[in-house]
Amino acid sequence: MSAIILRDIYKSWGSFEALSNINLGCEEGKLLVLLGPSGCGKSTTLRLIAGLETPTSGAVEINGKDVSNLPPVKRDISMVFQNYALFPHLTVAENILFGLKARKVSKPERKKRLKNAADILGLEEFLHRKPAQLSGGQRQRVALGRAIVAQVPVCLMDEPLSNLDAKLRQEMRQEIRSLQQRLGMTMVYVTHDQVEAMTIADKIILMNDGGIEQHGTPEDLYNRPATAFTGSFIGNPPMNILKSNPEIVAACGVDMPENFAISDLLIGVRPENIEVSKNSGFEIVVSATEYLGADTLIVGRSNDQSITLTIKGKATIPMGEIIRIGWSSKDTHLFSASTGKRVETTNMGEQS
């Protein structure tokens, strides 16, 4: 059963259309990530679910109930904000219990839930401190604590890790994931970081320009990108999207689909799938190399196109050298040049 459903959502401010035709569902107990570049409408979508914005048209359902016209407090949700939204003059304990007091939960019950949340999050020692006396990670935990004590089935997170440094971000995202699984929460999580999305999500919704680009598991998005945008957004370094020409088609050995001229296609290939070969493939001129430790990033040019590939370990290729590259047909993704949509052929891509 889907815990959260958005049906035909449109949202506009004046003549600016922020969201159009959003349809999505999040199953109970699953973690759904809304992913996309800034300005794509992912935060607006989350705020619509929370009830902080109202859609211009369309309906929001939470746990089988149409909540489109209900205020946030009646939607049985909790929310973690980007800047944590902790009340600076209240202690950690008061911050965590703020909502329970507002909803007049009894004192013993409040005490029990506070203890439980503090246990889970390791906040026992900090309950009497003010937010200013906490580190970024601890503040994040307090914000999570507020979501936990609410004991509501749905938790919404708006870029919760964007204010933390890289190392802490990795720790916290694992913690959030395990917390979500342990407590069986239904979680909608907004981020612009595709690594975060890939590692944490059950399902990802990739958004672009106020619309949904693709909805699927992290593997779906990585292995079978539905559009050229998805291909280039997911994965690091991003997928190469090349204008097709006979030389490239020959290099990857993919069968050309019918009804498409070669020039109507874009060819997508991930840097990690490209191999350097001695005598086959097509030629590129190396224009830059970046040594990353585990592997080396090589940027080359062929005609007017830039191509990125990675090879294991350290590679020393002087700039200006010509190398030959190729990749297997199963690692090739074809997209229509006019619509950006994926084009299927017989021997392309990983068949699921």
């Binding site: 929370a50 904000f81 009340f87 600076p88 003059h89 909502g99 507002a102």
Partner: protein, 296 residues
């Protein structure tokens, strides 16, 4: 060792040199006048015939027996205790009202702020008309509803309260600006978190907005208290402290003694009392209240 000592020595000299301009100005214009006032309060007022002589605390014992002094002091207390909390309450109310997206917010904000821009003398003249018996604004409204006319400023029972109403009208707009600035510093994310957590308007105000506004409230309170003792321009225009000192305030009484009755020593004595009152207020506000305030 020697260069170290020299360095410390120069650090001291440097520090003193840096604060010297400020110390000089404050000394000349604040501390010296206070000292001089206290000194003069211990002498009789001299004139061509009787030169000023040292009289010790005689001026102070005169003051204790001065019915008018006690009356203006009581007036001033009533005046402060009405104008300070009420102008703060109105200021906060107005700031909360225009801190949201309402239509014509700009106009409302401007009209709230206008009284502040007007000089006190002009405001006093406007209100003098409002309070005029028979054809003043209030009496005209009262006539319209069949009421009788009232000599607002001429009645000892209403004169002081007439001034209080006017001062609140004048000051609230000014204090509103500070509250508005403070409100706009509050993160909208906090309000949204409050909404999601189920905090209603009043609960949120009580637990979040009001505590976070406390630094502003303290600042405004200090200003309002000081204003209630130092602003007397309107008295000159509207009542001259009358009738029968019913609307006179401490500073106006000092002014009368110094420049109408030319009793400068007694005026100095009254000034010492005024400075003491203000000092006590300030100490209470900063020493006691400030400790309970959360500063971000």
């Amino acid at each position: 060792m020697k260069p170290m000592l020299e360095l410390r020595y120069w650090n001291h000299i440097n520090g003193w040199l840096l604060v010297l301009p400020a110390v000089f100005m404050i000394g000349l214009f604040t501390h010296y006048p206070i000292g001089s006032t206290i000194y003069h309060s211990l002498f009789s007022t001299g004139n061509a015939v009787h030169p000023s002589v040292y009289t010790g605390l005689e001026n102070y014992s005169l003051l204790m027996e001065d019915d008018i002094f006690w009356k203006v002091l009581k007036n001033n207390m009533i005046y402060s205790m009405c104008t300070v909390p009420l102008s703060i309450a109105f200021a906060l109310g107005m700031a909360l009202l225009i801190n949201r997206n309402i239509k014509g917010r700009f106009l409302v904000r401007m009209s709230f702020f206008t009284p502040t821009v007007l000089p006190m003398i002009a405001v006093a003249n406007i209100w003098l008309f409002f309070y005029t018996p028979e054809y003043g604004l209030f009496d005209q409204v009262s006539h319209f509803f069949g009421g009788s006319s009232h000599n607002w400023l001429g009645d000892p029972n209403s004169a002081l309260y007439c001034l209080i109403v006017m001062v609140i009208w004048k000051e609230a707009g000014f204090f509103m600006i500070f509250y508005l600035a403070a409100l706009q510093q509050l993160s909208p994310e906090l309000r949204e978190a409050g909404v999601v957590e189920g905090a209603g308007g009043w609960y949120y105000f009580k637990r979040v907005t009001w505590p976070l506004l406390m630094p502003t409230t303290l600042f405004i309170t200090v200003n309002a208290v000081v204003n209630s003792f130092k602003l007397v321009d309107h008295l000159v225009i509207m009542t001259k402290g009358g009738p029968d000192n019913a609307s006179s305030l401490l500073l106006y009484y000092i002014y009368e003694n110094a420049f109408s009755f030319w009793d400068t020593s007694y005026a100095a004595t009254l000034t010492v009392v005024l400075v003491l009152i203000l000092a006590i207020f300030t100490i209470i506000q900063f020493a006691v209240v400030e400790k309970r305030i959360h500063y971000q």
